[in-house]
Symmetry: C2
Subunit: 288 residues, 2 copies
DNA sequence: CTGCATACCGGAAACCATTTTCATTTTGAC
DNA sequence: GTCAAAATGAAAATGGTTTCCGGTATGCAG
């Protein structure tokens, strides 16, 4: 099933004036359309009902009703985004709005993701002799540790370094065939950049998970761009952690598939050792 | 917005015979309903159109059209969940399916969340003299560190302890007014349980983020139940990290709101010190 | 500038799906 | 068995959607 909004994007140039008004309305207030009849939509857009019908046909829908159904589907995630600002201070509204933010952050990240860089990164990582994860500061160091946690299970020699001095020292020991995954939310971690430069002179490949067009990205061989707007409420935790975590998971999954049997064998061993000492169910998750 | 299927579940016992037929049809072939008119649905179910209208009203919908829109939404979420098994090995399909898994994990967690325990936990944490985060193993230790990362910013004395021996030692030093947040994905971390027991004898309040009805939950004063089914594909990272992270964020936000000005002042200080030493934009996110 | 062809749009009528009304049937209690 | 209440469907009424068609704008050629 193709997505209504992407169809719209595609045929936008061919649209007439009235149809563009409808397109704008669809984008700005899809929820209204879902809850309104064709006459309401027509009136609000200042066009006639037949024009609305024609607009729906253009988007590949049989009828206005079919169109409405499709709008309902694509905006399901979207309406959640609208509630990203909590309706009230009531805890359950806050929970809803955090959930919306999280879902939105993940969806946007996935949407903006450049698969070619992801693939290039997965290729590099899956054959790395040593994988070093760099990151400093709340989110970035968490991601760095998480990278270590995910990749050592796949049989890769992995180390997480979250201390600038140690990053520089680690960099000094690296050589051709080694890979660094450098995470930086701001993209401006200059001390880390120094370590990356050093590592590159010794032949390591640098993969950056960071904002594009910033120092960290500029010094990387492969950049996976993650560029989320930060929320305005200082009391709210930032959503970028979810974006970084999502990319980490994607990389881990792709690398696991590339390494196939070896990854499976290592995961099995980890699980076996855990269940041996900790008396867990066989079905228990890895990694508590 | 309430979920149609959960409403259905709730009122199922009160339904009449014809309505049950419709309920069964809705569950078995929602897609058909989305693409059909009321007469088609009526015919297929062997009932009359008015009965269908009444059925929609019972489910809280204004009209059949409104009902159809809602069905479209829930089934869309459903198909997303179904695509959690990637359509193919193509990286972008895998990305989509990971995204679907996480969105689903987060939504389920939010749905199942017991707000009363969350509130009780937020109350306890916001007045804690010392906050100790316990956790061991991949996800749980990550969450433990993350709790430290989030709460120290709010002006709480916070420490993360991810080592069993240290947990026991930490527990021995705790007293009334102190709070422990214990994370355990499996809920069976027996060594941690020992530390929790010790801490309780010295008067600390224990909050557990874990599966219900397992040792860790049984030894907690407040349990926030997080109970996600684990995926079957061993190469896939588990989704429980997102669930735990979501709950952590929610707690952090609620505590931040309770602590109000003090939280704001501490966040401002952290930001100020960072921008002082690191030459960041003023608009930069906290916590890179 | 004019005339023509084309595309676009809206009014009104036709059409069709949905809903309401109301009579009938079924169910269940006494 | 009888009655009341609930459930159901037939048919009419309603209201929303689509089709048809004519008017208007736009662009192009002469």
């Amino acid at each position: 099933m193709r997505d209504l909004l992407s169809v719209l994007q595609q045929i936008e140039p061919d649209l007439s004036k009235s149809e563009r008004i409808l397109a704008a309305l669809l984008r700005s207030d899809a929820e209204f359309i879902v809850n309104a009849g064709i006459t309401d939509v027509a009136e609000r857009a200042g066009v006639s009902p037949p024009t609305v019908t024609r607009f729906c046909r253009r988007l590949g829908c049989e009828s206005y009703t079919a169109f409405k159904v499709q709008v309902a589907q694509v905006t399901f995630a979207g309406t959640r985004y609208l509630t990203a600002n909590a309706a009230s201070d009531a805890p359950s509204d806050i929970a809803d709005s955090l959930l919306a933010q999280f879902q939105d952050a993940a969806a946007r990240t996935r949407e903006a993701l450049d698969m070619e860089s992801v693939l290039a990164a997965a290729d590099a990582i899956s054959t790395a002799k040593l994988l070093a994860a760099f990151g400093a500061g709340g989110t970035s160091s968490m991601i760095s540790d998480e990278i270590q946690n995910r990749f050592f299970r796949l049989g890769l020699r992995t180390v997480s370094v979250t201390d600038h001095a140690m990053q520089l020292m680690q960099a000094a020991t690296m050589r051709t065939g080694d890979v660094i995954v450098a995470s930086s939310v701001s993209g401006r971690n200059l001390q880390m950049v120094r370590a990356l430069e050093a590592a590159k002179t010794y032949g390591a490949v640098v993969i950056a998970l960071t904002r594009p067009a910033r120092p960290v990205a500029d010094h990387a061989d492969i950049t996976i761009a993650i560029d989320l707007p930060e929320g305005e409420n200082i009391l709210r935790p930032s959503t970028s952690r979810y974006a970084f975590l999502f990319v980490t998971d994607l990389l881990a999954t792709l690398v696991a598939m590339r390494r196939g049997d070896e990854a499976r064998e290592n995961l099995r061993r980890v699980k076996y050792q855990l269940s041996n000492t900790r008396d867990l169910d066989d079905k228990e998750a890895l990694g508590d």
